[in-house]
């Protein structure tokens, strides 16, 4: 490569840099002024494209960065916090876990199959570029109501896209969540989380260390697909966009991903490389600039040496392509052939495209002629950030302050309401979804989807990693602060119910346009709620993703801060599952019934889609005590089951504990008596936080009560497991319900397959 300090000049055919062109690139006049200051001259077209991508919301976090700094990120077990491809924590026995969650909402709204598939691809690459082998995925999906054909199309396309990609690569899906609510009508939320395990010493980072080392483009060839995907993800959609935006959606190739995974792990183990990063959003631009930025070095690359899929691609296109399944690798100087040899084994290409320099700039040539030369650090870190004041939308305040006690009596009686809640798509079994995902490949799935949290064994040990994704968008819509706190609390309860200690979170913050004051209010409140909960639970945030502009024609989705919680079980023999097991076992409730119906599934399913009221409050100290109490109980093996209370309230929890898993027909009955002085609907369907239903052998009941008392957790005997061929009987102070298991089965397991086979 010819080293030259010559400044880039416009290429023939480049459009002139006009205010309109700057605006088309999503840059404000003030941001452009900042670019001129950094450059000391007018940028070339390619440079403008680079700034546009790096300073997009997607890469630059310009409307979120300041608030995100409020989140706790440290703990003794955190090895890598935010800012890398993925966060990393110590999970013991010499192993580290890399994990992250990311959104692929915009592409999935336009082309659900490929949009979701490439979302899985991207998150897998974020994890294996840390040196970790992906061992599990989870998905948090939010769609509109299933009675809309378009929603069914999006839902089935997204599920198939996730399945086909993950199944081919061979990563088990161990959990997740699926919500349906009109708040996501045209903007599905598609968030994919990946967990990867490695020996601690195998950790590698996305850095371009060592002047003179070699930059290599690895994997698939670069094409014209997805150019400006990062900028696309930072805009609102409007009607007709699904046609016009298709070229911005990339196409996934899971087989190439599998090859890239194996080749990358082999490369990392070989010691021939010093850094590796996915060419994800903003492709070669972000990977090159970020690797240089993190190391305080520079990079120089020649786009003419990048393997391309088609002739005549311009530097602008090569720099901004988001073709999938590509990596940027920094090879130790002199080891290029060894790198190439490993890639060839996996039938992949590796091309030398440049070198690490001491210049501190992101410098790009085409056939030796400079086309871009930008200081790396200002490019990656200098993106202007904003924190403009927000204000709550009046309509949200109005519905929150609505008195929902008017809806306390169900129009068609209690039993009908009970079955409507249990059979609502939000509460009903998601078996139709997770049976399309390989859940058992790699032979380490200890707890599969359908319970509170998935659990994966750390190979060669008796330790397990539990993971759960949670966000009740209705709660966060009505009250973003308590809703976000509740999402963290629920995620923590879910992993704790399996016997795992909550350790850390990754988050995916899905919101509308930050240019609107009420969205900024939602975002700020949600971040503050998360901060409080994560600080209190000592579960720092190790990274994640912000997805703004989830709007169509001005309608934003519910604010949806999805929490991906990680927990560790030190001894898998202490694992607990959610289903009741043996007749005569005692059923106890940990926590207090408060009957909070605001934002509940009951109101939505039974009262014509009503979303109103103050959502359940979160008592962080009580949640923490509950977590500690549960861990004490699971550690002493006194429980036979534990199941969190959340969407659908106690009704849903009891039904799920009775029906068991994984196939219908395995259930046991229970006789439950609830003595609280609350209206039936509030008692059965309230979604109050801080509650877990546990069961234990009759002779362990005293120990369970004693442990609860030791931790200051309210504990009430509420019933008895009655065994097979029985029913779920629930008595309150004013009603008695007897629900046959096969009727519950039909409602719980039959709803989604029924809708999807119509």
């Amino acid at each position: 490569m010819i080293a030259t300090a010559e400044a880039p000049r416009p290429r023939p055919g480049d459009p002139p840099i006009t205010p309109e062109l700057v605006d088309d690139h999503g840059l404000s006049p003030e941001e452009y002024e900042q670019i001129l200051r950094i450059m000391g001259r007018e940028p070339t077209f390619a440079e403008l494209g680079v700034f546009s991508a790096m300073w997009s919301e997607h890469c630059g976090y310009k409307n979120s960065k300041r608030l995100l700094r409020l989140l706790p990120t440290r703990a003794p077990w955190v090895i890598q916090g935010p800012g890398e491809n993925a966060g990393v924590i110590d999970v013991g026995a010499g192993y580290a876990l890399a994990f992250k969650i990311e959104s692929h909402n915009h592409p999935s709204a336009v082309e659900p199959y490929q949009g979701a598939a490439t979302g899985i691809g991207g998150i897998l690459r974020d994890v294996f570029t840390m040196g970790a082998r992906p061992v599990a995925t989870l998905n948090s999906l939010h769609f509109g109501d299933l009675d809309r054909p378009r929603v069914r199309y999006l839902f089935s396309g997204v599920v198939k896209g996730i399945g086909d990609y993950g199944n081919c690569v061979g990563i088990p899906s161990t959990g997740g969540e699926v919500y349906f609510d009109r708040g996501y009508e045209d903007n599905p939320i598609v968030n994919a989380m990946c967990l990867g395990l490695m020996r601690k010493e195998d950790l590698i980072r996305g850095t371009a260390e060592g002047v003179g080392n070699t930059l290599m483009a690895v994997g698939a060839r670069t094409g014209r697909d997805g150019i400006h995907g990062a900028t696309f993800a930072s805009e609102e959609l409007s009607e007709g966009d699904d046609e016009a935006s298709r070229p911005q959606v990339q196409v996934g190739d899971p087989f190439t991903e599998k090859l890239l995974l194996e080749a990358s792990l082999e490369l990392i183990a070989s010691g021939h490389i010093v850094g590796i990063q996915d060419m994800g959003a903003a492709g070669l631009t972000s990977s090159g600039a970020e690797m240089a930025g993190r190391s305080g070095t520079g990079v120089e690359m020649d786009v003419a040496r990048v393997p391309v899929r088609e002739e005549g691609m311009t530097p602008y296109e090569i720099l901004l392509s988001e073709s999938q399944e590509r990596m940027l690798v920094v090879a130790a100087a002199g080891r290029e052939d060894a790198v190439r040899e490993i890639l060839e084994k996996w039938e992949l290409e590796a091309a030398t495209i440049g070198t690490v320099t001491a210049s501190g700039t992101f410098r790009v040539l085409q056939d030796g002629v400079p086309v871009a030369d930008i200081p790396a650090l200002p490019l990656t870190e200098g993106c202007p950030t904003y924190e403009r004041p927000g204000e709550e939308a009046e309509e949200v305040r109005d519905v929150r302050e609505m008195d929902v006690s008017h809806y306390i009596s169900p129009p068609n009686g209690l039993e009908s309401a009970f079955l409507a809640v249990v059979g609502s798509p939000n509460v009903a079994s998601k078996q139709w979804v997770y049976e399309q995902y390989d859940t058992t490949v790699r032979a380490n799935s200890i707890e599969r989807p359908g319970g509170d949290a998935g659990v994966i064994r750390v190979p060669g040990t008796n330790r397990g990693v539990a993971a759960s994704t949670d966000c009740n968008g209705r709660h966060t819509y009505l009250n973003p602060r308590s809703g976000a706190m509740g999402a963290v609390a629920e995620a923590a309860r879910n992993v704790t119910c399996t016997g795992a200690a909550p350790m850390a979170i990754t988050n995916c913050l899905n919101f509308g346009s930050p240019l609107k004051p009420h969205i900024r209010h939602q975002f700020r409140e949600a971040v503050l709620g998360m901060r409080d909960a994560c600080s209190h639970f000592e579960t720092p945030v190790t990274g994640g993703n912000v997805s703004f502009y989830n709007e169509t024609d001005g309608e934003a989705v519910y604010p949806t801060p999805v929490i991906g919680m990680i927990g560790v079980i030190e001894d898998l023999d202490t694992i607990v599952r959610h289903s009741f097991r043996d007749a005569r076992d005692a059923i106890l409730l940990l926590g207090t019934n408060r009957g909070e119906l605001g934002g509940s599934e009951y109101l939505y399913a039974v009262h014509d889609g009503l979303v109103a009221g103050e959502p359940p409050g979160v008592d962080l100290a009580a949640e923490r005590a509950l977590q500690r109490c549960l861990l004490a109980m699971t550690g002493r093996k006194v429980l036979k089951s534990a199941h969190d209370v959340a969407s659908g309230g106690l009704a849903a929890t009891l039904v799920e504990s009775c029906l068991g898993r994984p196939r219908k027909g395995d259930g046991v009955g229970a006789a439950v008596r609830l003595d609280d002085d609350l209206p039936d609907t509030a008692l059965l369907f309230g979604e109050d936080h801080g509650r877990v239903v546990v069961s234990c052998a009759p002779e362990e009941e005293d120990r369970v009560r004693q442990l609860a008392a030791d931790y200051g957790v309210p504990c009430t005997r509420i019933g008895t497991v009655t065994g097979e061929d029985a029913a779920l009987e629930i008595a309150t102070h004013s009603s008695t319900l007897t629900l046959a298991l096969d009727v519950l089965n039909d409602h719980y397991f039959g709803t989604i397959p029924g809708i999807m086979s119509e």
Binding site: F255, Q436, T439, R442, I446, P662
Partner: protein, 239 residues
């Protein structure tokens, strides 16, 4: 017992098969698909996955991987060969087993536990099962719908070459227990000589209690317990 586990670039159950053989007391080793020799292997496992991406048809390209000539020759000489899931598809494509695996009746990928009834114990793979024993193990595939022409199917049944059938938990072979539309609920078959087994469900995901089932382990125990000096033709029939 030295067991070669073939690794295609898109194999994703090779490590699970390797581990299963280890737990069963055998000595596994990986053989890369571009090799042309199986070395000193006493048995071969073709594992599950998506051998070459399977964008065309499962196993259609794997059949042309260099190692397959050696696997075919090994099987022809009576060597023990097991194909699981994608491995079964590969063995059918390679002509080592009759029939084909079509798209599931549901037209969807399916991943869940299934029950199998052991139809025959007199094979090198099923010597450690009881006849009629009901097994539970995961299945995970989009193309597991076993098909063969009527004549082939009649031959399979007449020769008792159907080794595993999908059943319910009570061992009844019913339409409802058939997960994918396979003819006669066929989940696994052997060749005429009885030294090549293909099956869709995953014994390699059911080899220890922590995984929810140990019903796959006897298959690997049986395999590694075969006295290869006597040859595959000599098998123990366990009533």
């Amino acid at each position: 017992m030295r067991v070669a586990v073939i690794t295609f670039p898109g194999s994703n159950c090779d490590q699970d098969c390797f581990r299963s053989v280890e737990v069963a007391g055998g000595s596994p080793s990986y053989v890369w698909h571009r090799e042309t020799s199986l070395g000193d292997a006493d048995a071969v496992i073709v594992p599950g996955g998506f051998a070459h991406g399977d964008y065309l048809r499962p196993g259609a390209i794997a059949r042309f991987s260099p190692i397959m000539d050696a696997v075919i020759a090994f099987g022809r000489e009576g060597g023990l060969v097991v194909g699981i899931c994608n491995g079964f598809q590969v063995l059918c494509e390679a002509g080592m087993l009759p029939g084909a695996l079509l798209r599931n009746r549901s037209l969807r990928f399916q991943s869940h536990d299934c029950h199998l009834r052991v139809e025959r114990t007199g094979t090198p793979f099923t010597a450690d099962y009881r006849r009629g024993q009901i097994l539970r193990m995961p299945l995970s595939h989009a193309d597991g719908n076993y098909y063969a022409d009527p004549e082939t199917l009649a031959g399979l049944e007449a020769d008792r070459r159907v080794v595993f059938r999908y059943s319910n938990a009570r061992g009844e072979v019913t339409g409802e227990a058939n997960p994918n539309g396979s003819l006669n609920n066929i989940a696994g078959i052997v060749n005429v000589r009885g030294n090549i087994l293909g099956m869709m469900p995953h014994p390699d995901r059911a080899f220890e209690a922590a995984l929810g089932s140990v019903d796959g382990l006897p298959l690997f125990r049986s395999l590694v317990g075969v006295d290869v000096a006597v040859g595959a033709g000599s098998t123990r029939e366990v009533a």
